[in-house]
């Protein structure tokens, strides 16, 4: 496309190209993925602090498996290997952080392969997938190994204290006992690796939103949606004494609001669409928590809203400047 027009060999080489001729170079796909990795640091630190070597093992297995799976699948499709866009690493970390510490190694490997293969590559790779790859991977292993990923799967003996008891949402569902808020906020409870510390999720999430790498409308939508349904449930006495504040600080709600619902590829493009998507995730999540057999509903809520994202994009075409 570029044309060499130098009049004589001594002059500079002049190109032509269509406008615009200047670009913002700070913002790249890779930098956005790097931001996500940075924002996940507090969450990973909390996981390492509470789950010790179990967290190390799970993160290592999932990241390596995702990178290998991406490399293999891109190779099969005859495309250039795309590991340096860091998106496979992000999927690996998010998948690992959404698994229980106790899940055996093959759960991570199979989950990662499903995430990259079924979640991403069959649709055409980065940017083309409809469903959040990490959640596809997690759904796959949850169905394949239902025992290992059900509420009971989280409990095990061994060197780490907090995995000796059930997750707060399960304890409440089974015995009505309410975990105190400070434990939920700091994360000294059982759960999937990344979800236990509300504080760590909040720190990382705020960083993402402030950098505008995550759209704040998505996170805010989830929080508002969950608060509304949770608040109504409180008023109607459906889930007391587990209050809406407990709901917001427990389970995968904050982790999902900041790191899963905010996946740009699988969420809407328009501000109005983003709000609807977030509200939908928050509301469905609460409905699942309150009325389903599962203690947690984030994964299904995100996958459900992913499915309607193309529709949301079409329904929320913004009013153009000067339009009626």
């Amino acid at each position: 496309m570029n044309t060499d027009i130098t009049e004589n060999n001594s002059g500079p080489l002049i190109h032509v190209a269509p406008s615009p001729h200047v670009y913002s170079t700070q913002l790249t796909t890779r930098n956005m993925m790097r931001d996500v990795l940075i924002s996940l640091v507090p969450v990973m630190l909390a996981a390492l602090y509470y789950f010790r070597w179990l967290a190390v093992k799970q993160l290592f297995i999932c990241v390596v498996s995702c990178l290998v799976a991406e490399a293999v699948f891109t190779r099969l499709r005859g495309r250039a290997i795309s590991l340096k866009d860091l998106s496979a690493a992000v999927t690996g970390i998010i998948l690992a952080l959404s698994l229980p510490a106790t899940a055996p190694w093959y759960v991570g490997v199979i989950g990662s392969t499903a995430a990259m293969g079924i979640g991403k590559m069959v649709f055409g790779g980065l940017g083309m997938n409809i469903f959040n790859p990490a959640m596809v991977g997690r759904a796959f292993v949850m169905i394949a190994f239902s025992g290992l990923l059900a509420a009971s799967g989280y409990v095990a003996g061994g060197g780490v204290d907090i995995i000796s008891q059930a997750t707060p949402l399960t304890i409440y569902k089974q015995s009505g006992m309410v975990t105190p808020l400070p434990a939920l906020i700091l994360g000294k409870v059982n759960g999937s690796l990344g979800e236990t510390s509300a504080l760590a999720c909040l720190i990382g999430g705020l960083f993402l939103c402030l950098r505008r790498t995550a759209s704040w409308e998505l996170s805010a939508g989830v929080l508002v949606g969950a608060s509304i349904i949770g608040g109504v449930a409180n008023v109607l006495n459906i889930s007391n004494p587990w209050s809406v504040v407990h709901h917001l600080n427990s389970g995968a709600l904050l982790f999902g609001a900041f790191f899963i619902a905010t996946d740009p590829v699988t969420s809407p493009l328009t501000p109005r669409g983003k709000w609807i998507f977030g509200l939908g995730v928050g509301a469905f999540l609460m409905v699942f928590r309150l009325f389903s057999g599962y203690p947690e509903g984030l994964m299904f809520a995100v996958l459900l809203m992913n499915a309607v994202t193309p529709l949301l994009n079409r329904w929320t075409i913004p009013r153009p400047f000067g339009g009626a």
Partner: protein
Amino acid sequence: MAWFRQKYKDNIDPHAFPGNGTFAHGIHPPQCKDLAADSPIEIMPIPDKVVLPLLQHIGGPCAPVVKPKQTVRAGDLVGMGEAYVSASLHTPISGDVLKMAVTTLANGRHMQAIVIRSNGEQRTGQALWDIMFGGKWPQKEYQTLSPEEINAAIHDAGIVGLGGAAFPTHVKIDSDDRKPIEILMVNGCECEPYLTTDYRLMVEAPDAIVAGTMLAARAVRAKKAYIGIENNKLEAVESLRRAASGAGVKIAVVKTKYPQGSEKHLIKGVLGKEVPLGGLPSDIGVAMTNVATVTSVARGVMRNIPLTHRVVSVTGGGIVQPKNLLVPLGISMGALIAYCGGLRKTAARIIAGGPMMGFAFTNPDTPVTKGTSGITVLTHEEIRRVEQTVCVRCGRCVDVCPMNLVPTKIAMASRQNDFTLARKYNINACFECGSCAYICPAGLPLVQLIRTGKAQIAGAGR
């Protein structure tokens, strides 16, 4: 901006959102105006010859009225704008008419051109500046002119919009009883990075701008006249404020943001009104022109001098000595670049206009036309862009689009030739400002794709 409002309150209409008026979305590219902003306008020496394309404006080309070997004097009519949407052409230099030639404009269009060889018998230097911009601009003596008389003078002077689009001014200003004009808006935003021609004119020739604004307001029977300026040009604000005191022209200061100088977005910033989609400013009673254009209106009406020269910024990191030059139309771009010390070794792209919407060209013989607002020479570093990936649907383009469109959807629909979908996403509302492509983290050629789609739709409609 409180201090600002205080300082300029006597000239600023309280309804004009002083200093704060703007539009939603937009971008903040590096302005890079300091390269040439402080260089006073220099008078370009007379070239050996000028090449005057018959089409330098939007509309029909003008018809040549001179023959080869004929001798012409500076200011003589050489091309007659016969169609309604057309503009006449006058020679900036005295000399002999040579054989007609075909030249290539910066936008790639081939066009017949009148070539004139100079005999050196015309004003230049300070004398040229004085008749163009200097001296007094006594508005009082012209208050008896009727709108028709003013418009006839504008028509005869071959004036077109000098902001870049080069739409014939007499058409814009022509009164239409169905669309009465309330407000004349003069654009002094110059939101394109690098360019400083309008800024220099506002600083150096404020009296001509105010006089031209008053005449143009009379011509359109406007009740109010505003000059809109971005708040990064305070020296221009101060200069115009002084010139406008008592004249009834309001100086409206708006936020510095690209593309604030788009006519629809300046109107939004100053008046808070939106021009309807697919409509024109006249639909809401506004006529729009530019600060450089009104100086030629003043000159044409008050001094009977046609549009033969314009101010051009020669700037960018690839130019040895960035300058603002008053140049005759038809001079070669290469002569301007040479006058500014030539290209640096790092130069990579030569643009007619600014970096956001200008046309890249390579032929140094390309002539300066009425619409040439600048020559921006960018270096490899300045045109560096991010590596292209697929769209990750981050929505940044949606966040910056001043027309509130979904650029990535329109671009992808265009790429797949799905023009129904592209239309549904209002493809024709796009004015190709380039904000989406500027911000895109995936480095996608969004504007190029949208432009292709628009061209295909326009082609299919014919």
